[in-house]
């Protein structure tokens, strides 16, 4: 299609066969299909797709797109933009630095996926294709055009077998020219814009009102991000982030703080605060699993210890320590300290084990916590936790006269109860992120990584393996306990059931671990993203109901097959390689290349 793929010239030497497209069309037609199809797809969003407003989102009004039609519009717009960039329109070149086909193909596929999903969903839910208005048919055809166009683009490897060809169409080129150096303020402006767009996209995802919209949203976001990845733009952005680390962090927190101000319904702030709690705990687990390499399957117990401690000292009338009402800072410290003690108590005997044995023992301790809490009701054991009834009616927090239970008006925005807790949780997450990044980049952090890489060699380098692992375990536990203290207040009550190994809703140990692995071990953003995804999926896709665990398992298997390093890979080091110009670096995977264990020290 471009300079890199050698556009077939009519009088070219016949020696190298000119790359051809999968769909036999001339290049000009392919590009025209892409552009025209993209515009048509975007335009078709303004038509009426169905006759009844029974399908959620009201897709019946011509001229006013609703719900899923906006997603089709967005996807069509992206396809159009990329088609224009492929034409070489001035000012859009940055969209396609490698001039490859993959971004075009993936954007076209994204539009196709979301449109056809909508059309099929309308037909399936309303009972047959008769429910489609002509606009629906037009949208379906329009979204197919860019796909045809994209696959008609000339592509190397075309003709070596369909599978290879398809792979080549969506492959990211191995070498993408380095971007021109830009002024620092431009870099910051780019980061700011991306943060704002990111906040918008994320907020839209949280605010989706029905499952179909969320599925469509996922289609658009996944294909768009994939397209940006193959275009090399994500790599460029992470290079920018690496160069402006503290600025990005500040922007990230600004965006996190801005989130409740964009919400009108406190329900979505509730989702936000739960994601933050989940994400904070996952980040704590990332210290244990991602840095020190200790597989902890009972981690949620520490969240439980923190929550129960906070509940007991909260002044709840059902608390077994009646009359004690500590201020929040004290109860937060108490929760973290109790979890820390618990972590040391569990860690001291178990951390002498390695690998699978540690996983089994931590799994056992996690369950022991839940069962013990269930039984400390005054009949089977001492009366501490009220057994299965838990500790209800935990009062709302009151910090410096700011009552978290009431809605507050700040600068014209109304912050509801959950929005208040959300902001508190942002603060706590900031602390956890700070602790994580500082600990990781220090003597103790290096010794954790060394232990993870090769425990024998690490001890031979003078690292007291047991002690260092215990510090990681206790630190992770304390951070989870800190998050637990807030979660007790957010949910009004503390009961034993959520603190189990596996369940269909987060947080539980399996979901926490999955969030870390899915997002990317050893990174800050990874577990947070993983937690957001894992919280939103069961929350939004209610129609999956009890099958959500099945779907979740399948998704996890697919991810581990195709991207074992997690969504956000720890690519700081890869970048360093690219800067030194060494490109033949093997792909970094985290789950392979386990050194064969031979005799110690051999």
């Amino acid at each position: 299609m471009t300079e890199t793929t050698k556009t077939p010239a009519p009088d070219a030497t016949p020696a190298p066969p000119a790359p051809r497209g999968l769909v036999p069309l001339p290049l000009a037609a392919a590009r025209a299909l892409l552009l025209g199809g993209g515009i048509a797809t975007a335009a078709s969003a303004f038509l009426a797709w169905t006759w009844t407003s029974e399908f959620p989102g009201d897709l019946t009004i011509t001229g006013y797109p609703g719900g899923l039609q906006w997603l089709t519009f967005t996807a069509g717009l992206l396809t159009t933009l990329y088609a224009l960039a492929a034409y070489g329109i001035r000012g859009l070149g940055w969209l396609l630095p490698a001039r490859n086909n993959a971004p075009l193909v993936l954007n076209a596929l994204g539009g196709f996926a979301v449109t056809w999903f909508t059309v099929i969903a309308i037909s399936a839910e309303l009972g047959g294709v008769v429910n489609l208005e002509p606009g629906g048919w037009i949208a379906a055809v329009a979204s197919l055009l860019p796909v045809l166009g994209a696959f008609a683009l000339p592509q190397e490897h075309a003709g070596e077998g369909t599978k290879e060809t398809l792979k080549a169409y969506i492959a990211k080129p191995e070498r993408i020219a380095a971007p021109q150096a830009v002024a620092p303020w431009v870099q910051r402006a780019v980061i700011t814009v991306v943060t704002i767009i990111g906040l918008g996209v994320f907020t839209y995802g949280i605010d989706t009102e029905y499952g179909e919209l969320f599925v469509g949203y996922l289609f658009v976001v996944v294909f768009a991000l994939w397209a940006l990845h193959t275009a090399g733009l994500l790599d460029r952005f992470s290079a920018l982030v690496a160069a402006n680390r503290s600025f990005t962090l500040a922007m990230g927190f600004a965006a996190a703080i801005a989130f409740p101000f964009t919400q009108t319904d406190d329900h979505y702030a509730n989702i936000g605060v739960n994601i933050l709690i989940f994400g904070t705990v996952a980040l704590g687990l990332n210290i244990v699993v991602g840095l020190a390499g200790l597989l902890d399957l009972g981690y949620v117990a520490f969240l439980g210890v923190g929550a129960y401690t906070a509940a007991l000292v909260s002044g709840s009338e059902f608390s077994t320590i009646s009359g004690v009402h500590l201020p929040f800072w004290a109860s937060a410290l108490a929760g973290a300290a109790a979890s820390l003690v618990f972590g040391v108590l569990i860690g001291a005997p178990t951390l002498r084990l390695r690998g699978d044995y540690l996983a089994i023992v931590t799994l056992g301790f996690g369950e022991i916590f839940r069962i013990a809490v269930n039984n400390m009701d005054g009949q089977s054991g001492p009366d501490v936790t009220n057994g299965p009834n838990g500790i209800p009616s935990i009062p709302d927090l009151n910090l410096f006269g700011f009552n978290f239970g009431q809605a507050h008006d700040i600068g014209g925005f109304t912050l509801g109860r959950f929005a208040n807790y959300y902001l508190l949780m942002v603060l706590i997450m900031a602390i956890v992120v700070l602790v994580y990044t500082r600990a990781a980049d220090s003597r103790i952090g290096r010794s954790w990584i060394a232990i993870r890489e090769d425990e024998t060699a690490a001890t031979a380098m003078g690292i007291n393996g047991f002690r260092v692992k215990l510090v990681a375990f206790a630190l992770g536990a304390a951070l989870a306990g800190l998050a637990g203290t807030v979660s007790a207040h957010v949910t009004y009550s503390v009961v034993p059931t959520p603190y189990q190994f596996a369940g269909s809703t987060p947080p539980n140990s399996a979901f926490l671990l999955a969030a870390v692995v899915l997002g990317g071990m050893g990174t800050v953003a990874g577990p947070l993203l993983g937690a957001a995804l894992l919280y939103l999926l069961p929350e939004k896709l209610v129609f999956l109901q009890e099958k959500s665990l099945l779907a979740f398992g399948i998704a996890l298997i697919l991810l581990m097959r195709f991207r074992p390093e997690g969504i956000i890979a720890n690519r700081r080091r890869q970048l360093e390689f690219h800067e030194t110009g060494q490109l033949d670096v093997p792909k970094q995977t985290t789950l392979t290349d386990e050194p064969a264990v031979t005799k110690a020290g051999a």
Partner: protein, 287 residues
């Protein structure tokens, strides 16, 4: 030359019924390079592991500069004995610099709190560690690769990096387990120079090696370990001349049939004539 850095006394290591190392006495003096050789399975690495605390010797003690070492690897390193491994055990997913910084672990003491609070002391210690690590990387000639992942280094450089990592713990004694295994002659020669340079820094070196030329070129003394027992110890000439060493590597010379005295005489004469050439070939080939 006479103060012992390392003193192993009566070290015995049994695995169930198998005695891998049998009451070995062994000393390394300050500023010495000592070689430890022996056929495969003689217990060299096991003996190394006993010295460095990876194994707890069944009997006997190991002392460093007069103090008895506890059999805990990190305490041994803290005391001042650092080691490398027979098959390289770098931290593969850490950078070259980070590998060496891990080696500095025992010589720094910034804990979790100082890492979280980032006071001036922390920054100073980190900077000093990095400076020291960079000095070492320059010493072994890997300074330009500081940000590469250890796993991506060529084999010979991984060996060197392992030595630098061990040296980062500021040891008084460096134990090298087959430092030239898998190296070509040029790399072996470079390693030879590196070991001399390490000795010139005042670090005593104890090395296990199968490359006889390398060992005899380097070592002030060589000890031979056969089936867990120390057979001979002495200078290169003494060890090379010892028939038992040759026997251990190549097998006993055929004694001959009792009935055929003549043949035995001829054989004895042949053996006597071939003796010098056998030793010299041992030097180069025996592995």
């Amino acid at each position: 030359m006479t103060t012992p850095v390392l003193e192993a006394r009566d070290v015995t290591m049994r695995f169930g019924g198998l005695t891998a190392v049998r009451s070995v006495d062994f000393t390394v003096n300050a500023g010495e390079i000592v070689g430890l050789i022996g056929p495969n399975g003689a217990g060299k690495t096991t003996f190394f592991n006993c010295l460095t605390g990876l194994y707890v010797p069944t009997e006997g003690t190991v002392s460093y500069k007069g103090t008895v070492l506890p059999p805990k690897p990190h305490l041994v390193t803290q005391a001042g004995i650092a080691r490398t491994f027979q098959n390289i055990r770098l931290f593969a997913n850490m950078t070259v610099l980070e590998n060496v910084l891990v080696g500095r672990h025992t010589r720094t003491k910034e804990g979790l709190w100082s890492a979280l609070l980032r006071g001036p002391g922390f920054k100073k210690a980190e900077r000093e560690s990095e400076e020291r690590a960079m000095e070492l990387l320059e010493f072994i000639g890997l300074a330009h690769k500081r940000d590469h992942l250890a796993r991506n280094l060529p084999y010979g450089e991984q060996r060197k990096l392992e030595i630098a990592r061990a040296m980062a713990s500021e040891p008084g004694l460096l134990l090298l387990d087959e430092p030239t295994a898998g190296m070509n002659p040029q790399e072996t020669r470079a390693t030879e120079e590196l070991v001399f340079a390490i000795r010139d820094k005042g670090i005593a070196v104890l090395l296990i090696e199968h490359d006889m030329r390398f060992v005899f070129n380097l070592s002030d003394r060589v000890a031979v370990l056969v089936q867990g027992e120390k057979l001979v110890e002495g200078t290169a000439e003494v060890v090379q001349a010892d028939e038992r060493v040759v026997a251990a590597y190549l097998g006993e010379p055929f004694e001959g049939d009792p009935g055929e005295a003549e043949a035995a005489e001829v054989e004895a004469a042949e053996a006597a004539a071939e003796a010098p050439s056998t030793t010299s070939s041992t030097k180069g080939e025996a592995k």
